[in-house]
């Protein structure tokens, strides 16, 4: 029986889809059988980030409405043997699928796969409720910005109300140099405010833009520091104890400043 994990954030544009693509690729490269489910019906993106958009024939709606079998709609990743994608439909909207249908779908998927990662749409309406319906675990993605943290807090409240396991936090797009200057909230600030467990911190990385352009998750690149962070999160999802990279630990220069008593 596999685990169903929903990746959510409330606010849009904080990196849910990128996170889903990278963690799915990470878990699959660690040998797990993984399926990614895009529940952002009407605004699908996961297929593009994975570079699989030209293979879509059937989608999630076709499955729940019985136009095809589940196996027919699953798209095999072009790089990893044991990674699959169930794409969202682009022409309908969130009301096209019901909570019960999502519960049925995820329970079918968890028999086949070790990890079912659900990419949740932004917002707290129907799409969100459907996305979390079949999941027992949740990862909340936020960025160190007031609006994103506020929405994350709202989402955490809703997840708790839905009686799921306590969600874990991913802080995305942290800019260590800004944190050092005191111009960005640091990890401690956010953990204090949100009061949930941290599973990883992903630094801002230009390589994410490049990898999205190419349709290849950044985790596959050894030089990407975001990729490194995602590799660590993947292993933590498997229960391994991986020490956190101290992104805030400052460069050589800032350490000198500290020595001088100025930093």
């Amino acid at each position: 029986m596999g685990e169903v994990i929903v990746i959510t954030s409330g606010k849009g544009g904080v990196g849910k889809t990128t996170t889903t693509a990278n963690l799915g690729t990470g878990l699959a490269s660690l040998g797990k059988k993984v399926v990614l489910v895009d529940t952002d019906i009407g605004l699908r993106n996961l297929d593009v980030v994975m570079g699989l958009e030209n293979r879509i024939v059937y989608d999630l709606i076709d499955v729940v409405e019985g136009r095809c079998r589940l196996k027919q709609a699953l798209i095999k990743d072009k790089r990893l043997e044991n990674l699959y994608l169930l794409p969202a439909n682009q022409t309908r909207d969130k009301t096209a699928v019901s909570r019960q249908q999502m519960i049925d779908l995820t329970s079918q998927l968890r028999e086949e796969f070790e990890f079912v990662l659900i990419d949740c749409p932004a917002g707290i309406e129907m799409g969100f409720k459907n996305a979390i319906a079949g999941a027992e675990k949740a990862l909340v993605v936020t960025t160190p910005e007031v609006a994103a943290v506020r929405d994350a807090d709202r989402i955490i409240g809703l997840l708790e109300a839905a009686e799921m396991e306590p969600p874990r936090l991913i802080i995305n797009r942290l800019r260590p140099e800004m944190v050092r200057k005191g111009d960005m909230m640091d990890i401690e600030d956010m953990l204090e405010i949100l009061a949930i467990d941290l599973i990883g911190v992903v630094p801002e990385d230009q390589y994410i833009v490049i990898s999205t352009n190419r349709g290849e998750p950044a985790i596959l690149d050894k030089h990407s520091r975001a990729g490194q962070a995602y590799r660590n999160i993947s292993r933590r999802l498997l229960g391994e104890e991986i020490p956190f990279i101290n992104w805030e630990a400052g460069s050589f220069m800032s350490r000198i400043k500290k020595l001088m008593g100025l930093g």
Binding site: E145, V146, V149, R150, D153, R154, G157, V179, R180, K181, G182, D183, M184, M185, D186, D189, I193, S254, K257, L262, G263
Partner: protein
């Protein structure tokens, strides 16, 4: 010159991070009070029901909201009264006898 040096070494007087954190804290106190518009609406309807037993009120002009002052939450209702009823409804008999 000193100011320049401090700025150069990244020690701004009021760091925007602190501002962000303070603002968030305030906003979240509000959010976590957790009163949904739906709950306020049904509270409003119940208020109208009770008050109109005693007063004629302008139900369209009625406003109910929660405010926060110094970390305390207060329920503020603004109820325009049209006229005071002269006769009150008699209190209902209990539906069953003891």
């Amino acid at each position: 010159m000193l100011e320049f040096l401090l700025r150069f070494f990244g020690r701004d007087t009021a760091s925007s991070k602190k501002v962000a954190k303070e603002r968030l804290r305030l906003v979240l106190v509000h959010d976590r009070a957790g009163v949904s518009p739906h709950l306020l609406e049904s509270l409003k309807n119940d208020l109208i029901k009770v008050i109109s037993e005693y007063l004629d009120i302008d139900t369209d002009g009625l406003e109910v909201s929660l405010t926060h002052e110094n970390d305390a939450v207060a329920l503020v209702a603004n109820i325009p009264v049209l006229r005071v009823k002269r006769t009150f409804k008699s209190i209902q008999e209990p539906a069953f006898k003891v």
